[in-house]
């Protein structure tokens, strides 16, 4: 099956879709609906796959490489961020074969600290921005927030969308804001920070909305679409991620461009992470099994992955004292 054969919208329709509020609304509401029961059944069927032995070992290392190790607390300090960054580079101090995580995700004022610790390691610095987590600030303030993070050296910007605007149907406003943040991601040397768009699906509630917001973010130029801030319940769920993976798959067929997906919040165990990877594999396709295209926004997940990894190599479960607590 060649690219461009799947899904109704073709590139011309896509560029026309962002021409006006009415056109964008027509486009988003013209996307196929999502049947809640069917989507949830599909997600739970995929979670029933059995991933054992060599497949499990492969998937655990892949999952570690996909972790955005996150700390987003009011109580964050430089010490805490340094500790987390150190762990990101060498998650298992006793085992040099253990891969590093993908990125460390912090608030903008901690970017410099993370940058300094991670320099040269290949581990990215991701920064939340645009008045995270609520996104309730003046547009200029949100842009300044993002610009500050980029200037401090962030490789990736995790912005939040204006859910209020989305829920009241002002789609073009949401789109324009994402585009504006995307522009701010550009650096003086011509390179740019990757833009991850947090949709906060827990507030958008319906799967139809998840599909629409995914397309909206991709049309606005997102490099990644991300489920949640982690500050709102429910955060990432399998069915929401399913709908997002279908969206990036269809967007790729329509445009040829691959957009990443990042479920964030609430994923704590290896078993859950494996279910997500199975879903990536079977819904979006094997091409997405790459830290450049799929991430886990998580903090406690990493330790469970490490414990399972030790179990795979030693054959024994170890106590939590054998992984580091930060």
């Amino acid at each position: 099956m060649g690219a461009g054969t799947l899904l109704s919208p073709v590139p011309e329709e896509l560029s026309a879709a962002t021409g006006s509020d009415a056109a964008l609304r027509r486009f988003l509401h013209g996307l196929p609906g999502v049947d809640q029961v069917g989507a949830e059944a599909r997600a739970s069927a995929l979670a029933g796959r059995s991933v054992k032995a060599t497949a499990k070992a492969f998937a655990i290392d892949l999952a570690i490489r996909m972790v955005d190790l996150t700390t987003l607390e009011g109580a964050d300090t430089r010490g805490k961020v340094r500790a987390l960054s150190t762990k990101a580079m060498r998650p298992d101090p006793a085992d040099p074969t253990c891969p590093a995580v993908a990125a460390v995700c912090v608030y903008p004022d901690m970017v410099g600290t993370a940058r300094a610790t991670l320099a040269g390691s290949g581990v990215h610095v991701a920064s939340v921005a645009t008045a995270f987590p609520s996104g309730r600030a003046a547009p200029a303030v949100k842009l300044a927030d993002a610009r500050d993070a980029v200037q401090a050296g962030a490789d990736e910007i995790d912005m939040v969308i204006d859910r209020g605007a989305f829920l009241s149907g002002r789609y073009l406003e949401v789109l324009d804001q994402i585009v504006a943040v995307g522009e701010v991601c550009g650096r003086p040397d011509g390179t740019r920070a990757h833009l991850k768009v947090i949709c906060e699906t827990g507030e958008l509630q319906t799967y139809d909305n998840v599909r629409r917001v995914s397309w909206l973010a991709m049309l606005a130029g997102a490099d990644f679409i991300k489920t949640s801030t982690g500050k709102v319940q429910p955060a990432a769920t399998l069915p929401v991620t399913l709908v997002m993976l279908e969206a990036v798959r269809d967007f790729r067929f329509a445009t040829g461009r691959q957009v990443g997906v990042k479920p964030a919040g609430g994923i704590r165990t290896t078993k859950e992470a494996l279910a997500y990877l199975v879903m990536v594999n079977e819904v979006a396709g094997t091409d997405w099994l790459d830290p450049d295209l799929f991430r886990f926004g998580a903090s406690s997940l990493l330790n469970d992955l490490l414990m399972q990894r030790m179990r795979m190599t030693t054959g024994r479960y170890s106590s939590p004292d054998y992984v580091t607590v930060d």
Binding site: M1, G38, T286, D290
Partner: protein, 480 residues
């Protein structure tokens, strides 16, 4: 570049099942040898390995079994209170759950269906059927209002079941019969007798009075003997339309009551406003569940022309992820065809699709060297005049047709001698209700497919049979 994410083999252990080298007939509460001493072999269709020698019951054996059922009916079961009957049914339901893994593994070995399905669908549903009808056994007076007198059982039921859902069809037959106070002689299909024989052990384990359930194994001749036996009061059959017709002829003019659940050529109607990804899931489930060997399979896809290309692309993309292979592997989606005979029929009808000008497509998949296998297949460019659009293939083969208007969709869906199932896919409630009201099918699923519940009646129009199983309607078939 991403590496492939190959799931390592995850086989369910066979150690939970204990297959004996040979099996007798279950008559009067114990296993007995057949009078003539004949037997046949049952195979594992995934490997062609011989699993066991199974008794071939002849007229004399059937007569013994019906006699045992009659004695149990007059002396014990028809006199027992509904409350006490329900106690036995609840007990059987619980044992089915307790021995669920054993039953699931055995079913997959003997039938070829993926363990995922036998474990998550066949066995749990079989237990649910017993739980459901156990609950009715002492409430029959209230089940069917408006009848002249108190409900009474019919007597001895002769039941003949197919090989596609061996244990589940057994439950559909035995649970309502027993709840209503009848006793039964059941003949499982000759290619899948093992779970019925294990069920016989479960009857012993549950202390079910001797003769209430009798299991006679054999092929067509055994079934004919059972249906034709003079002392049988009720015939219940699930299977092919051809055999169903011959049964209808055999019982015509006798006092026997009969229910027939026969073939189908079900359609999935996908409107342009459907939730497409979920519709594709439903289409896949409709035709590849149990290798398409399902009487209510959605073997036709009727898709609105405006979204046909889109739906087909999604369908092919999805089919490429189906995992075909070892039925006992927990990650297998599509297992083995049940028998060489069935495989021949699927191949023959598929070849007619080629020769009549339809276009065949299957995802790349490696089929095992031994056993009976057929890849998930779709035919596009199919018209109503093609054999593959009209005849029941009973395999993983989907015929894709298009339509332009809701009226045309309903007309095409109805244009079949069958009438068992239809799935309607649309986000618009009024469209679904409008179509459902005009469709001639026993079951209409809206935005889902192959959903079963003991409380819901199931049955067909026209050549799909008559009578209803399940729900309160299912009780009516076993009461006078």
């Amino acid at each position: 570049m991403a590496q492939p994410f190959d799931y390592a083999p995850a086989p369910e252990s066979r150690s939970v099942v204990d297959i004996r080298s040979s099996y007798g007939l279950f008559i009067g509460g114990e296993f007995v040898d057949p009078v003539a001493g004949r037997s046949f072999k049952t195979l594992n269709p995934a490997t062609e390995e011989v699993l066991a020698e199974v008794s071939d019951a002849d007229d004399a054996d059937v007569d013994r079994a019906v006699g045992a059922a009659r004695r149990a009916f007059t002396r014990v079961w028809s006199r027992m209170s509904g409350r006490d009957r329900s106690k036995y049914l609840f007990r059987i339901a619980r044992v089915l759950q307790e021995r669920g893994r054993e039953l699931a593994v055995l079913e997959s070995i003997d039938n070829g269906k993926p363990i995922k399905e036998s474990r998550d669908v066949d066995v749990p549903l079989a237990a649910q059927w017993f739980f459901y009808y156990a609950g009715w056994a002492d409430k029959l007076d209230y089940a069917l209002p408006g009848r002249p007198g108190p409900p009474r059982p019919l007597g001895v039921a002769g039941q003949v079941i197919p090989w596609n859902f061996p244990l589940l069809m057994l439950a559909w037959k035995i649970a309502p019969a027993l709840a209503c106070g009848n006793t039964v002689v059941l003949k499982p299909a000759e290619t899948t007798p093992l779970t019925a024989l294990l069920f016989a052990e479960i009857c012993q384990q549950a202390d079910l009075p001797a003769g209430v359930v009798n299991i006679v194994t054999g092929a067509g001749a055994t079934g004919r003997a059972l249906v034709a036996h003079e002392d049988v009061d009720k015939v219940a059959f699930t299977g092919s339309t051809d055999v169903g017709k011959s049964i209808a002829r055999a019982v015509a003019g006798t006092r026997k009551k009969v229910t027939l659940e026969l073939g189908g050529k079900g359609a999935n109607i996908v409107f342009d406003d459907a939730p497409l990804d979920e519709a594709v899931e439903g289409v896949v489930n409709g035709i590849f569940f149990n290798q398409g060997q399902v009487c209510c399979a959605g073997s036709r896809l009727l898709v609105q022309e405006s979204v046909a290309d889109d739906v087909l692309d999604r369908l092919k993309h999805r089919m490429a992820t189906l995992r075909v292979g070892d039925p006992l592997d927990k990650n297998t989606d599509v297992g083995a065809i049940n028998s060489a005979e069935q495989l021949t029929r699927i191949r023959e009808l598929s070849a007619s699709g080629d020769s009549e000008g339809a276009e065949r497509w299957s995802p790349p998949c490696d089929l095992p060297a031994h056993g009976f296998w057929f890849p998930p297949t779709i035919f596009t460019g199919v018209s109503q005049a093609h054999r593959i659009a009209r005849e029941e293939i009973f395999g993983p083969v989907l015929s894709v047709l298009t339509f332009r208007t809701p009226g045309e969709a309903v007309d095409k869906a109805n244009n079949t001698p069958f009438g068992l199932s239809v799935g309607v896919w649309s986000d618009k409630g009024s469209r679904i209700m409008g179509a459902a009201g005009r469709l001639r099918a026993g079951v209409v699923w809206a935005n889902t497919f192959n959903r079963f519940d003991p409380g819901s009646p199931f049955g067909g129009y026209q050549e799909s049979g008559y009578g209803r199983e399940g729900g309160r309607h299912g009780l009516a078939a076993y009461l006078r």
